[in-house]
C-alpha cells in the first residue's frame, strides 16, 4: 500500500529550479530517508509533500489525498517533527499536547485519554506540568515527537530529528522511532547524520541540486557504489605517500587536505605498506553511507 507518492515534482524560485523532478513512493511501515547537502532541495520537497508549498509541476498523493488540493485532509493522519522546535513557550507540556490536539479537531476528552500514553512515550510523565523553558534539549525533542503523535498518525515526517542532541538523547530518539516502526507507522526522515540514516532507513534517496542521485536500501547502495574497505591515512608526509603508494595500492583514492582516502577490495597490502611509515597514522574501516554520500555529492562546502 502506498502511503505517499510523488511524481515529477518541480519547483523554481526566481527562475532557479531548486527541485527538478523528484519521484518517490513510500510503502506502509517503511522508514524512508531523504538525504542531501544543505540547499539540495530537501526542505522544499518536504513542504511540497505536506501541501505547504505549491509545486510548479508534478503529482503528489498524501494518504490517498491529492496535494496541495486536499492537503488539509491528507494532513489529518500525518505527524510532523520540524527541524527547529516550535513548542508553545506559553504552555506547559500537558497544555502543548492538548492545544495541538485541537488543531486536529480532537476534543479535550479525546486528548486527555491519549495523554498518559504520549507522556510515557516521551518519558515526560513527571514533567507534565513543567513549562517548556524548564525542559532540556532532549526532553523538548521528545515532546515534539509526542506532539506529532497526538492524532495517532499513519505517516510521520521527521526533519532532522536529532540535530543538536547529545549521543544519549540521539540513541533515545532512535529507540522511539524503531518503536513507532514496529507499530506499523511509516516514517519519512531527513538527516545530516549518515549513521542515523544507515541505522534507521529501509530505503533512502540521496538528492542534490533538486535531482535524485541514488535511491535504494542503504547497504545495497553502498555495495553498488563503494568499495568494501576503506583506509584513511593522516600525517604530514601523506602527500608523498599518496602519490608513491596510495594510488597504486587502491582501487580508488582521494587526497583531501592532510587525509588520503583509499578505497580497496583487499586492505592487507595497503596496511602492510603503511607499517613502513611510522610517521603516518591510519584507520581501517568498512565502506559506509558517508563515503557514498561524499562520492555522489562531492566534498565542497555548501552554504
Amino acid at each position: 500500500m502506498t502511503v505517499l507518492s510523488a511524481r515529477g515534482v518541480r519547483k523554481s524560485y526566481a527562475g532557479r529550479e531548486v527541485v527538478s523532478g523528484i519521484d518517490l513512493e513510500l510503502a506502509k511501515g517503511e522508514c524512508y530517508g531523504l538525504l542531501g547537502p544543505n540547499g539540495a532541495g530537501k526542505t522544499t520537497t518536504l513542504r511540497m509533500l505536506l501541501g505547504l508549498t505549491t509545486p510548479d509541476a508534478g503529482e503528489i498523493t498524501l494518504l490517498g489525498h491529492p496535494v496541495p488540493k486536499a492537503a488539509r485532509e491528507g494532513r489529518i493522519r500525518v505527524g510532523v517533527v520540524p527541524q527547529m522546535d516550535n513548542l508553545d513557550p506559553d504552555f506547559t507540556v500537558r497544555e502543548n499536547l492538548l492545544v495541538y490536539g485541537r488543531y486536529f479537531g480532537l476534543t479535550r476528552a479525546q486528548v486527555e485519554e491519549r495523554l498518559p500514553r504520549l507522556l510515557e512515550f516521551a518519558t515526560l510523565e513527571a514533567r507534565a506540568d513543567s513549562r517548556i523553558q524548564e525542559l532540556s534539549g532532549g526532553m523538548k525533542r521528545r515532546l515534539v515527537l509526542a506532539r506529532a503523535l497526538v492524532n495517532d498518525p499513519d505517516l510521520i515526517f521527521l526533519d532532522e530529528p536529532t540535530t543538536g542532541l547529545d549521543p544519549q538523547a540521539r540513541h533515545q530518539m532512535w529507540e522511539r522511532l524503531r518503536l513507532l516502526l514496529r507499530q506499523g507507522k511509516t516514517i519519512l526522515l531527513t538527516t545530516h547524520f549518515m549513521d542515523e540514516a544507515e541505522r534507521l532507513c529501509d530505503r533512502l534517496k540521496i538528492i542534490d541540486h533538486g535531482r535524485t542521485l541514488a535511491e535504494g536500501p542503504p547497504h545495497d547502495l553502498i555495495a553498488e557504489h563503494i568499495e568494501p574497505e576503506v583506509v584513511e591515512v593522516y600525517g604530514e608526509e601523506v602527500e608523498s605517500w599518496f602519490s608513491e603508494h596510495g594510488q597504486r595500492l587502491s582501487v580508488r583514492a582521494e587526497l583531501h587536505g592532510e587525509t588520503a582516502f583509499c578505497y580497496l577490495k583487499d586492505p592487507a597490502p595497503a596496511i602492510a605498506n603503511l607499517r613502513g611509515f611510522p610517521k603516518l597514522r591510519f584507520m581501517h574501516r568498512r565502506g559506509n553511507l558517508e563515503d557514498l554520500f561524499l562520492k555522489l555529492t562531492g566534498r565542497e562546502m555548501r552554504e
Binding site: 488539509r72 485532509e73 513548542l87 508553545d88 506559553d90 495541538y100 488543531y103 479537531g105
Partner: protein, 254 residues
Amino acid sequence: MMKVSLSWVAVWRRNYLVWRKLAAESVLGNIIEPLLYLVGFGFGLGAMVPEVDGVKYIAFLAGGTICYSTMLAASFEALYSGFARMHVQRTWEGILNAPVSLEDVVFAEWVWAASKSFLSGAAVLIVAAALGLAQSWTMAFILPLAFLIGLTFAGLGLIMTALAKSYDFFMYWFTLALTPMMLLCGVFYPLSNMPGWLQAVAAALPLTHAIELGRPLLLGRWPEHPMLNVAVLLAYGVGGFLVALTLFRRRLMS
C-alpha cells in the same frame, strides 16, 4: 480565494488560553492606562476647558479614549504578538503542519486581535462608568463597536506584520499611522477646530469614523452617520485583512 474553515476556532482558543494565563496583568493595563488618561487630561485640561460640545471635557474625552485604546489594543496584538507567533516562536509553523490552513490562522489572528480590542473597550467602559461618564443605554453599543474597531486596525496591522523583518519595523506604523491618527482624528478635541484641509484628511482616516460613533454613543446621543462610519471601518478592516492574507501567502507558502 477565502478558504477559512472552522479550524480557526482552535487557533483563536490557543491565543485565548495564553491570554487567560496573563489576564490579571493584561486587564490591569487595560484599566490603568485609560484611567490615567481620563483623570490626567480630563481633570488637568478640563479645568481650563470647561465644556466641549455641551459636555464636560472629561466626558468628551472618554469617547475618544475608548476608540484610541481599542485601536492600540488591536494594533499591539496584530503587530507585536502576531509577529512573535508567526516568526519568533514559530507557532504558526507548528499549526500549519496540522490540518489547518494559512487562511484559518490569519483569520483567527484577525478575530483574536479584535477580541483583545473588545476586552480593552469593556475595561475603558467600566472606568468611564465608574467616573460617572457613561450613563445612557447607548453605551451598550460601545462593546460591538470596540470589536469592529479591532477588526479595522488588526486588518491594517496584519499587513505590517506580513511585511516585517523584525519588531523595529513596527515603529513606522506607530509613528507614521497610529500616532498621527491619535492627534488628528479628534481624540482630544473636536475636529471642527481644525483647518478645512486637515478635516478632509481626517475624514479619510478610520479612527475619525470610530470616534464619530464612539463619542456620541457614550454621551447618550445617536451618531450622525452611523452607516457610513461602520462601512468605512469595515472596508479598512476587511480590505486590510485581504491584503495581509495575500502577503502572508507570499511570505509563508511560496
